[in-house]
């Protein structure tokens, strides 16, 4: 019998191969491995949409302006800018910036990139945001002038898109082998598996201290955490669930850092619903939810209670909005007053709560349902595959749902979410909220050129939104990242961009 004799051979072979190829091979000191949860599908800054791509692009491409760690526009390719009129922006470019192929970056490349995105036939996801631009002029190689249709206070934030070289941008394989002027240049890409970028020697910011950054795509959470714990991943960021923090901290090779984040978790209402259009019901629900209990149970304390979309630290964060402290007795009274007494079956009414199949979302829905049951509201939790869930939310097909706004630094996002004209597909006013005074304030804030006056308008809008209880503001989960102790210098950016990898260095270098 030949077959059985092969079996021990096979087993021995596996073990030998395994022994030879695994173990902790000495890590290359200049290579940092990042664990990603999703595949970056397209790294062309003109076309990219997914979070994974948007976070990696600043390593490969420079933009006119960049957001600093506080979320404010800061000089990058543009060293200075002025606004001769509220509808005109003039930017002065840094000289001597080179693309990865050695050619010089000039205003012509800037105009090419922006004109390309504005051209409807290119189907750029940024086309909508750039609709306010009417003309782009380049008086000389180091100057760019944008002319706007109307004043738009948040316009500078649109200048953080990566600049593409005009002579290569139309090449067919550009998205597969992008050429930019960023601190790292293209290395290798195995879609769905790994992406490698290498230090760009001639970067105007100086050569990065890392030789290579390898992004590994590990969509399975368990696998990702085990790889990190095993020492095969040097950086995990934005994809560590709170429950895994103690597990990763057991490893001496990793330093796990948690710090206040700006992602904003909320409970959304459908304001067209027969029950939920009554403000007292919404306020009752807000008072019924015990945020501290859920933060302790689900986040192990790694989140801060929230009262408004813009996190503390944002220049437009309104600190004096109505918060809804946990108060079940008040919640019951509000519901009685609103005309929803407890029926003989013990419930006042039943609401459906939609969530995705993501585990944390389901657990959170169950905890919220417990809190609402305590005041007589029955909740039916219904979880759907992500695409279906998100489609329903956009279509207004829900009573309650919870989602998170991630990386919001631009206060104009308030207009996008709460203005009555922002009902999908125009914006994200999914609950059909309409308040004429909020509309007026948000419109005025867009045109306001005086920052102090703009801030007052944004404060007032946030106060009204909180008083109307459009969302239940839940919490801001902490930013959690794990970095191998052999590196230092990493700084988390609020938008999740890996920008600071250009200054990360192996720890030995200090000696």
């Amino acid at each position: 019998m030949r077959v059985p004799r092969l079996l021990p051979l096979f087993v021995v072979g596996c073990v030998l191969l395994g022994g030879a190829c695994s173990g902790s091979a000495p890590a290359d000191p200049g290579t940092l491995v990042v664990g990603l949860e999703a595949n970056p599908t397209n790294l062309d800054p003109r076309l990219a949409t997914g979070a994974a791509a948007v976070r990696i692009i600043p390593l490969l491409f420079n933009s006119l302006l960049r957001l600093d760690p506080a979320g404010q526009p800061a000089p990058e390719l543009a060293i200075s800018w002025e606004t001769p009129s509220p509808t005109s922006y003039v930017l002065h470019l840094r000289r001597g910036v080179r693309f990865h192929d050695g050619s010089e970056l000039t205003s012509a490349d800037v105009r090419y990139t922006y004109d390309w995105m504005r051209d409807p036939k290119n189907r750029s996801p940024n086309q909508g945001a750039l609709a306010v631009v009417t003309a782009i002029e380049t008086p000389d190689p180091a100057t760019v002038r944008f002319t706007l249709k109307e004043p738009f206070a948040s316009f500078l934030l649109n200048l953080t898109l990566g600049i593409v070289p005009a002579h290569l941008g139309d090449a067919k394989d550009f998205a597969e082998m992008p050429v930019g002027s960023g601190p790292f240049r293209w290395g290798e890409w195995q879609p769905g598996e790994r992406l490698v970028v290498r230090a760009f020697d001639d970067s105007w910011e100086g050569r990065p201290r890392l030789d290579r950054v390898v992004f590994r795509i590990l969509s399975n959470e368990t696998t990702r955490l085990l790889e990190a714990r095993r020492g095969n991943i040097d950086l995990l960021w934005n994809n560590i669930p709170p429950y895994a923090v103690p597990f990763l901290r057991e490893s001496s090779r990793l330093a796990v850092t948690t710090r206040p984040g700006i992602a904003y978790q909320y409970l959304g209402f459908n304001l067209q619903d027969r029950i939920l259009r009554e403000p007292r019901v919404r306020r009752a629900i807000a008072h019924a939810i015990d945020r501290d209990r859920i933060i302790a149970a689900l986040f192990l304390g790694l989140a801060r209670p929230a009262a408004t979309l813009l996190a503390p630290g944002n220049w437009a964060h309104a600190a004096d909005v109505v918060a809804y402290p946990h108060d079940p007795a008040l919640a019951r009274r509000l519901l009685d007053e609103a005309g929803f007494p407890v029926r003989p079956d013990g419930a006042r009414f039943t609401l459906s709560y939609k969530t995705s199949t993501e585990r944390q979302g389901i657990e959170m829905a169950d905890l919220v349902a417990e809190d609402l049951a305590a005041v007589g509201i029955r909740v039916e939790r219904r979880s759907f595959e992500w695409g279906t869930f998100y489609g329903d939310i956009k279509a207004g097909n829900f009573q309650l749902y919870s989602l998170r706004w991630v990386g919001v630094t631009d206060p104009d996002t308030l207009h996008y979410i709460f203005h009555s004209a922002s009902v999908p597909p125009a914006g994200a006013n999914r609950g059909h909220y309409a308040n004429a005074e909020v509309d007026r304030l948000l419109e005025a804030s867009r045109r306001e050129s005086d920052p102090a006056a703009r801030r007052e308008e944004l404060f007032a809008a946030q106060r009204l939104i909180a008083a109307d209880c459009v969302y239940v503001s839940l919490w801001y989960p902490d930013d959690i990242y794990a970095l191998a102790t052999r590196f230092e210098g990493f700084e988390p950016y609020p938008g999740g961009q890996y920008t600071s990898l250009k200054q990360v260095r192996p720890r030995e270098e200090r000696r």
Binding site: M1, R2, V3, P4, L6, L7, F10, C14, V15, L17, G18, G19, A20, C21, S22, G23, S24, N39, T41, N42, L47, T49, P120, R123, P125, N126, Q127, G128, A129, A131, A175, Q190, P191, G192, E193, R194, R216, I217, L218, S219, N220, T222, T223, L226, E227, R229, R230, N232, E385, W386, G387, T388, G391, D392, K394, A395, Y416, P425, A426, A428
Partner: protein, 304 residues
Amino acid sequence: MSGIGRRLLLLVPTVLGVLTLVFFLVHLIPGDPVEVMLGETASGADLVQLRADLGLDRPLAEQYARFLGGLVRADLGRSFFYRKPVLAVIGAALPATALLAAAALAVALLIALPVGILAAVRRNRLTDRLALVGSLVGVSMPNFWLGPMLIILFSFRLGWLPVSGREGAASLVLPALTLGTALSAILVRMTRASMLDVLGEDYLRTARAKGVGERTVIARHALRNALLPVVTIVGLQFGALLSGAVITENVFAWPGVGTLLIQAITARDYPLVQGCVLVISLCYVAVNFLTDALYAVIDPRVRT
């Protein structure tokens, strides 16, 4: 040969049926690829424009006709998200899945044949009982659980094998074991039962009476006849193997068609979903066709 020709012809409606089903299913589930593509800030006019460009505004029947038309020209369309031809995207992922499926099949056969034969020969003895209990355990463990358990044991505690990824032969061991275990458990039972049927046959008694050694009786005379049903089951279970590959690839970050399919469904990348399902169903159909062809090799009586 006419038998094989007829079987080949029968494959056409099977594959067509699968594709029709998938086409309508992916278009019926809620969610809109255009909204995902253009991002949150797109205007209503842009959405309408892109929908028209992609032909998504046409009646479903017309889209289906165009899809079939493309199929005839071996054109599966372009992936919405990779912005590349579907065939190129799948072509890049297919070798990884083929390797994984082949390795899992090898693992399953290498475990199942010896264990199944041994269990049949030592019927009702301890070896047999252990084999049966083992196969029950094997078939009861889902991939998404077994994979992490194997990682914890072999990669984490023992440090013998890599956790995930595709670097070197060592990284294939755990995924193949994860994917092959359930199949091997089924095959152990099949091999045992099939061997037991054959072992009672007269021609084996004749062989033994002629003085042929017991090993030769089992390997040459019994196994050959017992293999037929086993081969059938391998063919039928291949579909389960491919669907298991979707989960196994996810656990081990193995960049194959399964990983691609999950991405494509999440992004509502209709052409890519259809392409992945086409490839998977073609594989399934082809393997079953090969199984039928294998009969002819194993059993000369089927050759006519």
